[in-house]
């Protein structure tokens, strides 16, 4: 029995180390980072991966060792081939219960509640933008920037100034939609009859893929994507997102108002 525990423990350590190593060195799951909150969320994801790996490895270790050590060659013979009657009425289940409960409490506090508090602690913003979902397009209104209005149906891009904390007020005109920019990580539903809010500190301008050029169009993470099934053209309810430096944003505002004036 002691040998069995030792071997299973060895396998457990190996599987844990290998899976954590895979998570650290090989796994590279995240899309481009376009907002400060993305760092917090990606870190929480990795912390849970590191915590989950050894738990996963316990079951895998017993599976591997059990199949290797205790596999029967064929149909068992009545009475002869029974395993030992280990009923589990000793201390072991109690210890298991305490340890798993402890792990659950740890995960719910960190990265759970602490992460939630961090995500929600700052509800100030330097700029407010209204985003409205309407089947099947995104309408954007910049009340702080000359009241510019954009529409994904008109082929516009959502243009955002870098290093700015933005409050997105999200509305829906007909049915549920969901406002999501993968590079910012967060999403919030657009609900008819209600204004929902999402705060984001944009940090995305720069070189996400390290090729010396900021080419958001190659990076699908810089798009608004509707993330709540909204019927027929849900698939196509997307809008590109462009992040520019502050001066460039101001120029863009000027050009937009100029062209709007021309139209008018």
């Amino acid at each position: 029995m002691r040998r069995d525990f030792t071997w299973a423990a060895v396998i457990w350590v190996i599987v844990s180390v290998v899976s954590v190593a895979v998570a650290v060195f090989i796994m590279d799951p995240f899309p481009a980072v376009g907002a400060e909150e993305a760092g917090l969320i990606d870190d929480a994801f990795m912390v849970m991966t590191y915590m989950g790996a050894p738990v996963f490895a316990i079951v895998i270790a017993v599976l591997i060792y059990g199949v290797w050590k205790w596999r029967a060659s064929g149909a068992p013979e009545e009475g002869v081939d029974d395993g030992p009657p280990i009923l589990g009425t000793n201390w072991f289940p109690k210890a298991w219960f305490v340890v798993t409960a402890g792990l659950a409490v740890v995960v719910m506090i960190y990265p759970g509640l602490t992460g939630l508090a961090e995500l929600r602690e700052d509800d100030t913003a330097e700029m407010r933008i209204e985003v409205t979902g309407l089947s099947w397009q995104w309408l954007v209104h910049y009340p702080d920037s000359e009241g510019i209005r954009l529409s994904s149906a008109g082929g516009d891009e959502l243009v955002l100034p870098n290093d700015t904390r933005i409050q997105f007020d999200v509305l829906a005109l007909d049915i549920l939609h969901s406002f999501w920019i993968p590079a910012f990580r967060q999403k919030i539903d657009a609900v008819p009859g209600q204004t929902t809010t999402m705060y984001t500190t944009v940090t995305g301008a720069g070189d996400a893929d390290g090729d010396g050029d900021f080419d958001y169009q190659d990076d699908v993470a810089y798009r608004i994507q509707c993330a709540e099934l909204c019927g027929l053209n849900h698939t196509d309810m997307a809008m590109n997102v462009r992040i520019v430096e502050r001066e460039e944003f101001d120029e863009w505002v000027t050009s937009q108002t100029a062209s709007a004036a021309k139209v008018r």
Binding site: D4, F30, I41, A44, F45, M48, G52, F56, V59, I60, L63, G66, V67, W70, A72, G74, A75, P76, E78, G79, D81, D82, G83, P84, P85, I86, L87, G88, T89, P93, W96, F97, A104, V107, M108, G112, L113, G115, E118, L119, R120, V170, D174, P182, A183, R185, K187, V191, P192, Q194, T196, A221, Q225, A227, E228, L229, G231, L232, H234, T235
Partner: protein, 628 residues
């Protein structure tokens, strides 16, 4: 009429159609009477279906046997006794739990295969960006059909099929507590399937399986009404089935079958039935409110009329999160059952495993809003639902404790049902751990509605419950059919399905994190490589069901005759012939010990030989023996 009466299904269909037409004509008549003949507005799909369908449903139930075997006595008449024997029993109204069990298994396996073929088309569409096979409209219809049919299969096949067949045998009962209610419950299922298929033929519906309003109230597609009626009917199946199981388990146990001696599968069904009984009404009520909004013009979910779209999400998830435990609790019971028999060890920490199941029941109704972290609900609800959801991992951990403790130092017989049971442990572990990311608010606002979620719930439901279903199918196949399956084909099925499953769903986690959202017909071309790989794997996974179907069909027809107890197992269903005789036991057995007395020669589950199977089955002269 006597000619039709020989074919209950035909008679049911005829009566059902007549009932439907009466309902539709009556509705039309009232409409014309109210609105005037000039309006010409006698048919509206929403209204006519909503009224005509229940009338048709009653006609169907009368025709299929509900009148002949039950209804007559409410009006002072004499009912017929269930007299059909042979294969014909399976196509009519029968109160025999073993007939009903097989009816459920076969019906839902067919629905499973149909839904599986649908998703092969969906994967074909998703093999690359752009639209190939479907357009946005037909894609939504196919995806929605796959969703709801698989949910129905997952809810009903383990409890309805194997629960019905095996549970009365395991507790030493002659049948379920309410055999005629049991038959009625099953015969509510075909209308559900007919409605869903009809809905697709009428152009489908576009709201997935979740039917979120306002889309479900505003869209003009008639399929939505059929969907609502189908799922309300299915809710009735779930509730009636749950009541029958609860009463059977409480009142029909054999003498000596104390709660502590119940096979763990019975506990799984008991726990799942509690949840189905308490929560299913919520979903039915939500769908009925959608119908009211559509048909009567109420505004439950219409904000312009004072309603709230968020209200539906709360009502829906209040059932639909517990529903995943309705799917998975019988699977937990079944896996522990199979691990114990095929490791030839008593179930490790039996009481803790039961405690885990009851703990899941207790928590199941307190975690629903973790599906709504991005819904715009009040922010102060996020922390409590995060905490409560993380708590679920504790009772689930106890199930895993029992599983690995049972494997430990056992004599693992790695046959097909055992392989599926071990595969379940791997898959459900993946599903459980990835669930933690979705219970955590910061990571959930990122991952919600992405393919990460798709991968997660397929790991729990397909990798978990459907693997358990496969384990159960192979494990009890000899008992139910009296014939053995082909072991080699079964092993091929397992390895194809297990490897194919990983190749389909592991990459889905990755592509989801990288920003691909779910329920879309098209996607940015950046995700092309992932999707091509997933589709190729999906075809391989789909192909694994060819040896499965072939094996079971051929073995059922001409497999070798199975002995009463091919696994040398201790529980009661193995102590009677395969298949068991009508009413199961010539004499009700007396239970004297725990269900899995492996390795304890002095302990027995039942006192003496049971039925006629004592000698060949139980061995050692003690049919019920504990392997003594």
């Amino acid at each position: 009429m006597t000619g039709v009466a020989r074919f209950p299904i035909v008679q049911g269909l005829v009566f059902g159609i007549i009932g439907f037409l009466i309902g539709a004509a009556g509705t039309g008549f009232v409409r014309v009477a109210l609105l005037g003949r000039d309006s010409g507005d006698w048919w509206s799909t929403d209204l006519s279906w909503t009224i005509a369908y229940p009338v048709g449903l009653i006609g169907w139930l009368i025709g299929v046997g509900g009148w002949r075997y039950w209804g007559r006595e409410w009006f002072g008449g004499e009912v017929d006794q269930f007299a059909e024997t042979g294969w014909k029993r399976y196509f009519g109204f029968s109160g025999d739990h073993k007939v009903i069990g097989i009816q459920y298994v076969v019906t839902f396996t067919l629905l499973f295969l149909l839904s599986g073929l649908t998703v092969m088309l969906v994967r074909y569409e998703l093999a690359q960006s752009g639209l190939q096979l479907f357009n946005n409209d037909t894609y939504n219809a196919a995806m929605s059909f796959h969703g709801i049919t698989m949910v129905a299969v997952a809810v009903a096949i383990l409890a309805g099929g194997f629960g019905n067949y095996v549970l009365p045998l395991q507790i030493g009962a002659r049948d379920m507590a309410f055999p005629r209610l049991n038959a009625l419950t099953f015969w509510l299922v075909p209308p559900v399937a007919i409605l869903l298929v009809t809905a697709v033929l009428m152009g489908g519906w576009e709201t997935g399986w979740s039917a979120y309003p306002p889309l479900s109230t505003l869209q003009t597609k008639p399929g939505q009404v059929l969907f609502n009626l189908a799922v309300i009917t299915f809710g009735l199946v779930s509730i009636l089935g749950a009541i029958n199981f609860l009463v059977t388990i409480v009142y029909e146990r054999a003498p000596g079958m104390t709660w502590g001696r119940l096979p763990i599968f019975v506990w799984g069904i008991f726990a799942a039935s509690l949840i189905a009984f308490f929560f299913t009404q919520a979903f039915a009520a939500g769908l009925a409110m959608i119908l009211f909004d559509r048909v009567l013009g109420t505004s439950f979910f219409n904000s312009a009329g004072g309603g709230s779209a968020l209200l539906y999400e709360h009502v829906f998830w209040f059932y639909s999160h517990p529903a995943v435990y309705v799917m998975v609790l019988p699977a937990f019971g079944l896996i522990l059952e199979i691990l114990s028999h095929l490791s030839r060890k008593p179930l490790f920490a039996y009481k803790w495993a039961v405690g885990g199941m009851i703990g899941i029941v207790a928590l199941s109704g307190l975690v629903w809003a973790h599906h709504m972290f991005t819904s715009g609900m009040e922010n102060y609800l996020h922390a409590p639902f995060l905490v409560l959801t993380e708590l679920i991992s504790i009772p689930t951990g106890l199930i895993f404790l029992a599983a690995i403790g049972t494997i430990w130092a056992g004599r693992l017989w790695l046959n097909v049902p055992m392989l599926f049971a071990l595969g379940f442990l791997f898959n459900f572990m993946m599903g459980g751990i990835t669930g933690i990311y979705l219970a955590d608010v910061p990571t959930d606002v990122f991952l919600h509605d992405t393919y990460f979620v798709v991968a997660h719930f397929h790991y729990t439901i397909m990798g978990g419950e459907i693997f358990a279903l496969m384990a159960a199918t192979y494990f009890w196949f000899p008992k139910m059919t009296g014939r053995m399956f082909n072991e080699r084909l079964g092993q091929i099925h397992f390895w194809m399905m297990f490897i194919g499953f990983q190749l389909v769903f592991l990459p889905m986690f990755d592509v989801g994190i990288k920003g691909m959202n779910r329920r879309v017909a098209d996607f940015p071309s950046a995700y092309d490589d992932f999707n091509l790989f997933i589709t190729a794997s999906a075809f391989f996974l789909g192909a694994s069901f060819i040896p499965f179907t072939w094996n079971l069909v051929i073995s059922w027809i001409r497999g070798p005759i199975a002995e009463a107890n091919p696994w040398r197992a201790t529980t009661l269903e193995w102590q009677v012939p395969s298949p068991p005789p009508e009413h199961n036991f010539p004499e009700i057995p007396e239970v004297v010990g725990p269900p899995y007395p492996y390795g304890q020669p002095e302990v027995r589950h039942v006192s003496g030989p049971v039925g006629t199977a004592g000698a060949p089955a139980g061995g050692g002269g003690g049919g019920g023996g504990g392997g003594g």
